[in-house]
């Protein structure tokens, strides 16, 4: 078995677990999770009770119900709302993992209906059998459109899905397959078909034997009258699949690669479980590297959903749509079939996008400067800001700099009106600085 973390499991550890395996804690949630201990905490995430959506129901900026199939950007808002309100954060986080793993973009699919159908598939199969998930993804309508599955026919094979099936989904670039395998896989994957409707666009996705190439194919040195199921089966049972699978899955939870021993143990676990996802995720969430290793940059969706969870705020504005795009993660629009690049979340443009996100998130709580009831005390002001944002664990450096800011700004208040009004301004600024601090960009 892979090593298991045996250090203290307190609030900071529970907090990290909730960020890595979900979208961060709601107020008090980290403390509650910490009381379960590591095993109980991980189990509560991997074996959650039935989903309950908690918190205010979502609506757009004009108070109307979301229309994810029809209104521009509402698909994103709809999903963001699930991330914010779910009682099964890991299931939702796995949905995001698979959206990145099998990255399908609405740019190529068009239909929100089909994108959301794929999204449901990711949620339903998120922690169960990888072969089942792979099979369902292979004939998922959005994927069939995205990677030319229904353009792939016996008469004119299209290698698009065949190549990514091996390169990105199951084996890794250049690992254990040849260009000939790509061509042969493409032949095996033929047979999918859809119609076009004037009103609905692509409809009636189905397998049509007439379009399938029934001939003998040679894939990975094996010969047979392979079809799409065989194609998936051959990939999952390829000797290089388990190492690809566990390394890729690991990378969503821990930002540095697993050591060789851990990797081997995870591979064994994966194969012995019959290619189940849950036991591997469980092992990663219990691994010492998650608790003692370096921090991880939060993806923009996780950052926003986390801010809203901490603030107990629901989806009540359309702004998240363009802000997510500005921050580099427009849900349902990954940049390409390889998904988002986790090494590129932060630059000067996306940092500023996060600044704006933070200001939008805390805006409803903004304090008026003429209220004048706040303490003239830097430490107290900082504690209030921390409380509003759900008491996140801070590094000493950030805590000290925020306090220094508050102290200096208070010392600017020479006149009476400044003494009365500055504390509110400082409190607003502290919340903003806290939300954009490096500490809250990472977990």
């Amino acid at each position: 078995m892979p090593p298991v973390y045996r250090g203290a499991f307190g609030k900071p550890q529970a907090e990290r677990l909730l960020w890595r395996a979900g979208f961060g804690p709601r107020p008090g949630e980290a403390e509650r999770l910490a009381r379960l201990g590591l095993d109980g905490a991980v189990r509560s995430l991997t074996h959650p009770r039935r989903e309950r959506l908690r918190g205010p129901k979502p609506h757009d900026g004009r108070g109307r119900r979301l229309a994810p199939y029809d209104a521009w950007g509402h698909d994103q808002l709809w999903w963001l709302d699930r991330m914010v309100r779910t009682s099964r954060p890991l299931a939702e986080r796995m949905t995001l993992v698979w959206h990145d793993w099998f990255a399908t973009s609405r740019d190529g699919v068009g239909s929100a209906r089909l994108m959301l159908r794929q999204n449901k598939l990711f949620r339903r199969r998120g922690l169960s059998s990888f072969p089942v998930l792979l099979a369902e993804v292979t004939c998922d309508p959005a994927m069939l459109l995205w990677l030319s599955g229904t353009d792939n026919t016996r008469w004119s094979p299209n290698e698009n899905y065949a190549r990514e099936l091996m390169e990105l989904f199951t084996l890794g670039a250049g690992r254990g397959y040849t260009e000939r395998d790509v061509r042969q896989q493409a032949r095996a994957l033929t047979g999918w078909h859809n119609d076009w409707s004037e009103n609905l666009g692509p409809v009636r996705f189905r397998y049509d034997k007439e379009r399938h190439d029934p001939g003998v194919k040679t894939i990975f040195g094996k010969r047979g009258h392979f079809d799409w199921r065989d194609s998936c089966h051959l990939c999952v049972h390829h000797r290089l699949h388990p190492s690809f699978f566990v390394t890729k899955l690991w990378s969503y939870f821990v930002p540095v690669p697993p050591k060789a021993g851990t990797k081997r143990a995870l591979e064994r676990l994966y194969v012995r479980s019959g290619y189940e996802v849950r036991p591997v995720v469980e092992a990663i969430l219990r691994h010492p590297a998650l608790y003692t290793g370096p921090r991880m940059v939060k993806p923009p969706a996780v950052y926003v959903a986390g801010l809203l969870r901490a603030l107990k705020r629901g989806i009540d504005t359309d702004s998240w749509t363009w802000l997510m795009s500005l921050a580099g993660q427009q849900l349902f629009y990954p940049p390409n079939v390889g998904g988002w690049d986790d090494a590129r979340w932060l630059d000067t443009a996306t940092y500023r996008a996060r600044w704006i996100m933070a200001s939008y998130a805390i805006r409803p709580h903004v304090l008026k400067s003429d209220k004048g009831k706040l303490p003239n005390d830097a430490a107290k002001l900082l504690r209030r800001a921390e409380a509003l944002l759900g008491e996140p664990t801070l590094t000493g450096h950030t805590h000290a700099e925020l306090k220094r800011f508050a102290k200096r700004a208070l010392s600017d208040a020479h006149s009476q009106w400044k003494k009365e009004q500055y504390p509110a301004l400082i409190e607003n600024a502290l919340r903003q600085l806290l939300a954009v601090s490096p500490d809250l960009q990472t977990c």
Partner: protein, 458 residues
């Protein structure tokens, strides 16, 4: 597969593809079979801050970031280079409306509903058969000053009527679907430097394919004024203190990923300070000496930013951006076309006057182009379908101000009923490379020797 309105569908799908390509270059949706991939597909993109000059750049086409600060500084202190600005009108602007042949006897036959009356727009002084579209009066003024050269029928033989393919040809400077570098990108590969990404500047969030290079870096920037840090309920001294705090928050940390976030904080803070002079709401942001048109479209604002960047001495050489408006006018053409041309012409007029006021107008030449013109005969929806030869303009204080190629007339349309070209875009590019940029066209445009060069400058 039947798709409704396949023309428009193709166009929107092509734009989608292009967006994906500019961002990533991998795993693009399969579009129409045989369509070329946009130039620049697969180019690596990195973000870079040209600190001393206050710009956040997306830099394309370099494995790792070099010492651009020094390169840009060196380029800026060297002799000022001529600047070529490419403005693309997307969708295929209708050349028979841009300069409409009111005295051609076939005009009203082909365009019974869309034909404009002689009184609508001023006569074109170089060919009395033609009148300017009424929205183009700013160009008429500049033309009167000898600052506009018109190409009334520019294109290429064997025209392709796919938006995507024809645009690709114009972008790569050849009728070659497989060429993956842009024509300005290849010019820069030949004549540019390895350390100045500003030499090829895409003035939008994404790389313009005509700038896609193979060897030297090029860049994209949305605008120098779009970088404010506002927090609700914070102002005055407290706001200053708040923003000052970004610097210590960005201090080095031992955790590698915490440090990554700290670095982004510190870099953003540095950039914020550098861009402060350009910031919106901070006086006259760009210090523009003229007034640009007010519009929801960012085109005039981007041009104002471009003039300001040139005014600040940034070492730009080739610039590309998309013009305002939608020119794929299959239906309800009159209004869409008039709106697009109006904002384009007024913005470029302001840009010219801005450059003149800043004493920069001798250094800048602007090419306005579209991927093709439209069908001679109008369709049944108050619109026109895809055609062949289109209109292009060269604008600047040093242009010759005379037509390049004549108007071919409507009695000699090609087999598809489209205008035949009387000038070739590749010949135009050769002339721009040689006469304006001072480069070697043979190294840039395939088959350059076979094209006669029009005289561009006075």
């Amino acid at each position: 597969m039947d798709r409704p309105c396949h023309h428009c569908d193709e166009f929107s799908r092509a734009s989608l593809l292009r967006r994906g390509a500019a961002e990533a270059g991998r795993g693009l949706p399969g579009i129409e079979p045989g369509m070329p991939s946009p130039a620049g597909t697969g180019l690596d993109r990195r973000t870079f801050v040209a600190g001393a000059f206050g710009l956040a750049l997306s830099v394309y086409g370099l494995g790792k970031l070099g010492l651009f600060e020094d390169g840009i500084a060196r380029a800026a202190s060297g002799p000022a280079q001529p600047v070529l600005v490419s403005v693309f009108l997307p969708g295929g602007a209708d050349s028979l409306s841009v300069l409409y042949p009111v005295l051609d006897p076939n005009y009203k036959k082909l365009r019974p509903k869309l034909a404009l009356p002689a009184s609508a727009g001023p006569q074109f002084s170089e060919d009395n058969r033609l009148h300017w579209h009424p929205s183009l009066t700013p160009f008429v003024t500049l033309h009167g000053e000898g600052k506009v050269s018109v190409l009334p029928a520019v294109g290429y033989t064997h025209p392709d009527q796919s938006h995507f393919t024809s645009r690709h040809f114009w972008e790569v400077g050849a009728t070659d679907a497989r060429l993956s570098t842009g024509w300005m990108g290849r010019y820069l590969d030949h004549a540019g430097t390895r350390d100045n990404p500003l030499q090829g500047l895409s003035l939008e969030y994404q790389l313009q394919p005509s700038l896609a290079s193979a060897k030297v870096p090029v860049a994209a920037v949305a605008g120098p004024d779009d970088y404010g840090f506002y927090a609700p309920g914070v102002w005055g001294e407290v706001e200053e203190r708040m923003l000052e705090t970004l610097k210590p928050l960005g201090a080095r940390r031992s955790d590698p990923f915490l440090n990554q976030a700290a670095k982004a904080t510190a870099q953003s803070d540095r950039l914020r300070r550098q861009l402060a002079p350009f910031a919106a709401g901070n006086g006259n942001g760009f210090g523009s000496p003229v007034t640009y048109p007010q519009s929801d479209d960012s085109f005039p604002h981007r041009l104002a930013g471009l003039a300001a960047m040139l005014g600040a001495g940034l070492p730009l050489h080739c610039v590309a951006l998309t013009g305002p408006g939608e020119y794929d006018t299959h239906a309800d053409q009159p209004k869409a076309l008039a709106d697009g041309l109006d904002l384009t012409a007024r913005s470029l007029f302001a840009f010219q006057r801005d450059l003149e006021a800043r004493g920069l107008s001798d250094r800048v030449l602007t090419l306005v182009w579209s991927e093709f013109g439209r069908r001679g005969e109008e369709n049944g929806s108050d619109g026109t379908d895809h055609g062949a030869a289109g209109t292009a303009f060269l604008i600047g204080s040093r242009v010759r101000g005379q037509m390049i190629g004549e108007f071919p007339g409507l009695n000699n349309l090609d087999k598809d009923g489209n205008l035949r070209p009387t000038s070739d875009f590749r010949a135009l590019y050769c002339a721009l490379v040689e006469q304006w940029l001072g480069g070697d066209a043979a190294a840039v445009i395939p088959g350059a020797r076979s094209f006669g060069r029009p005289a561009l400058l006075s």
